[in-house]
Amino acid sequence: MQNNYDLVIVGGGPAGLAAAEAARKNGIENMIILERDKELGGILNQCIHNGFGLHTFKEELTGPEYAQRFIDRVKELNIPYKLNTMVMDISEQKEVTIMNREEGLQKLQAKSVILAMGCRERPRGALNIPGYRPAGIYSAGTAQRLVNMEGFMPGREVVILGSGDIGLIMARRMTLEGAKVKVVAELMPYSGGLKRNIVQCLDDFGIPLKLSHTVIDIDGKERVKGITLAQVDGRGKPIPGTEEYYSCDTLLLSVGLIPENELSKEAGVELSPVTSGPVVNESLETSIPGVFACGNVLHVHDLVDFVSEEAAAAGKNAARYILGNKERISGDAEEKAIPIVPTEGVRYTVPSHIRVDGMEEQLKVRFRVGAVYSKCYVSVYLDGERIIHKRRPVMAPGEMEEILLKKEELREREGLAQITVKIEEA
């Protein structure tokens, strides 16, 4: 068995696949994709609804179709991969310990590693929802797997907590399969999902969305019998007197996604407390030189198209790193990096710092806002000077935003200390 690789890609979902393709096209031969599931494609395999690929392919695909296009490219390029293979550990020296049924525990030495592990759902415990702990409480993604991949219905009468995209998609899916979705409750005064999903998955099926509501009790000792919803005040506290009981046998939770960075953390990669993903520079390189991150493990995306785009950049940058341009990518003294400071409504940016020398001619900086804004401007300041002032009719935390920085523009400024991204009201 081969144990030395130029590039090891952890995860064979959309991020890993796109990163692999880009790395190969940029000259990397000796590489491998490691996937823990029984097939490539990651979470897309259970996303059988359409709406994928509008940006990448200018057509509307289902999740498996979108994944297949990338799987086909990986196969055409003869990029090797291992399935049913768990990455147990990644060391700071880029030694990757893997395990599977056939080969047992093995150590792979990589010159470069791309982290593409995706994210996981927040469980009930993270919300500390009181009540019983019966059967019938599923995270929306688990229910999606059961219904779409295994053909099993987890329940008949459903309440959904959280209006993240998976929750909205599952409201429609459960309805189409004959279940009754009684209500979708959302703690925040706005939905965390895409507008189009609210329209197509709730409104079109007459499923009510209750904003500023949460589950305050779960009833049923063996199987869920019902849940109690209450309205919450501005600080998220339930308001007495607003309680409403819904009988149901199933509670689906769509209450947030967390980048899955246990491996990154053990490797010693610095993580952002805001995104729970690695802190990266313009090359999507983490605090460990030669370790790159992309996709939902870096920060949770709304659209897979942007995951693919980001991952392709990571793959290209990893190739540059491996092929000897190490100096340019990571050998640079980190003190030369210019921080991008998110402020006034901007929660974070990816990347969080830039070394101008490492940039392409244009660099996409992605970010999210912390609240709903209407008729506002996205502004970018180079030190004191505003260089971008883009009008936006509406911005919401559920939709990822982006700005473009030009290498030329940054290079012109000697001694640039800080780039600031903020929201300015009209």
């Binding site: 823990r36 415990g125 500390n128 059967a135 019938g136 329940g155």
Partner: protein, 478 residues
């Protein structure tokens, strides 16, 4: 007719079953749930208390200290994870330091070894995350933490291997006195026995009162807990107690034997013996009270919260005795905290009483040891690879968070008294106990259960009757 029927497969019932299985007796454990460890035994603090809390001279004090001393060897014999981490009872500047001295004196009277009162510096040096207001502590090096599930399961498996029969999903509805013993009418028909051991936890008073005119009364006392992710695991390295108030031992903050942090419990008296629902008030109380002893508890890293119901008898004492007005009926009742640590001694104590009644011979072939489910994480790389080569299922990770392999799950299902449900697998292997709380692994574990038990997916449950996970196949719902 059985020689002994034990009602309840919790930690007291199974410890008694194991102790009695060393004798030539026909023994049966009847349990209303689908598995062992489904009541109070599965939802508690998992502390091996040192033994300074109970009143000197009480049975509780005696069995606690005895059980504590038996635990290290027992944990080894039964292959149960045990961490003798010690405990601190901390005292704040707004509390009476004399109470620490009283606890110390009580501990000495009870025979607890190694107790020491520490000053502020010594205390904070041991645990840097204690609240700044903590001024002193009682250090008990003999305390520890154990896996409550494994201990209960190990007792049962060991008893089973030594010939004890188990009947699950068998609720005792009525007990009548018959010639030479008792008839237990259960939902699955009558069972006759010479001796009854009543280890029915929160329901023990109900059975006691069926055969005795001298009634006892158990009050269910609910305790809510929060369990924190292993990433918070270094918050404290010893069990941190607060000075006892009038409702138990206050809120503790402790490492678990698997490296999580547990915070709790509350002590809420209630009517319903089965009501293990947490409440917002209860959880809020756990969180706010914990801050009195430990600062910056990262409560946002809670991965699950739960509640257990303790069987508090009005007398506040363990009741382990043959009833005067019902010969052959042995109570093992009122076993609240420190019931878990006391369990080895409770088992021995019950054994003394029952063998005193029946005078059985000791078995020559009693096997005192039990091997737990092999945890490949404890093996060297070479050993692990040899294991995977022999059985590839050990190379297949099912639970990503706790890195539990298919091999371990198969072992859990196929061993004596094996797992039949998702929770059964969880308590035996930790699959589903990690930070994602079974989001990833539950469908896969369900599939393995269905395959191995030759059942349909719709028959797979979370925890037995009524807790089905699937309501049908797609397009079948009407």
């Amino acid at each position: 007719m059985y020689d002994v029927v034990i009602i309840g497969a919790g930690v007291s019932g199974t410890a008694s079953a194991r102790a009695l299985s060393a004798y030539d007796l026909k023994i049966c454990v009847v349990e209303k749930a689908e598995d062992v460890c489904c009541g109070t035994s599965k939802a508690n603090s998992a502390i091996v208390h040192a033994g300074y809390d109970a009143k000197p001279g009480s049975l509780m004090a005696k069995l606690n200290v005895q059980g504590n001393k038996m635990m290290p060897k027992l944990a080894e014999e039964l292959d149960v994870p045990f961490n003798p981490c010690g405990s601190l009872v901390v005292c704040r500047d707004d509390e009476d330091q004399e109470m620490l001295q009283e606890l110390y004196d009580q501990g000495i009277a009870n025979g607890v070894e190694g107790l020491k009162i520490l000053n502020r510096e010594e205390t904070h040096a041991m645990e840097p995350n204690l609240a700044d207001e903590v001024t002193a502590a009682l250090w008990a090096p003999s305390a520890g933490v154990i896996c409550p599930f494994q201990l209960n399961i190990a007792y049962a498996e060991n008893a089973c291997e030594n010939g004890v029969e188990f009947r699950f999903d068998t609720e005792v509805q009525e007990i009548e006195k018959i010639e030479g013993g008792y008839r237990l009418n259960t939902e699955n028909g009558p069972i006759e026995t010479k001796v009854v051991v009543n280890a029915a936890g929160v329901h023990a008073d109900k059975f006691h009162n069926m055969v005795s005119a001298d009634h006892i009364h158990i009050t269910p006392r609910r305790g809510d807990y929060c369990l924190l992710d292993k990433t918070a695991g270094d918050l404290v390295t010893r069990t941190i107690f607060q000075l006892p108030g009038k409702f138990g031992k206050g809120v503790l903050v402790s490492p678990t034997v698997h490296g999580n942090i547990i915070v709790g419990p509350t002590a809420i008296e209630q009517e319903d013996r089965e009501a293990t629902a947490t409440t917002r008030d209860g959880l809020d109380q756990v969180i706010s009270v914990s801050a009195r002893s430990v600062k910056n508890v990262p409560i946002r890293q809670t991965i699950t919260s739960f509640a257990g119901v303790r069987a508090h008898e009005d007398g506040g004492e363990f009741i382990i005795e043959e009833l005067k007005d019902a010969k052959g009926f042995v109570d093992c009742a009122g076993i609240e905290s420190p019931g878990l640590v006391s369990s080895p001694a409770v088992g021995e104590y019950v054994k003394e009483i029952v063998t005193g009644i029946l005078n059985p011979a000791r078995k020559a072939d009693f096997k005192a040891t039990r091997k737990g489910i092999l945890d490949p994480k404890t093996l060297s790389e070479e050993e692990r690879n040899a294991l995977i080569k022999e059985n590839p299922a050990y190379g297949n990770i099912i639970c990503r968070c706790e890195k539990v392999t298919e091999g371990e799950i198969l072992d859990a299902i196929h061993r004596p008294l094996g797992a039949k449900s998702l929770d059964g697998v969880k308590r035996r292997t930790r699959a589903g106990m990690g930070r994602c709380q079974s989001g990833f692994c539950s469908p896969r574990t369900m599939e393995i259960l269905a395959r191995e038990l030759k059942k349909d997916m719709s028959e797979i449950t979370k925890c037995g009757k009524g807790s089905g996970l699937i309501v049908g196949k797609n397009k079948e719902l009407q």
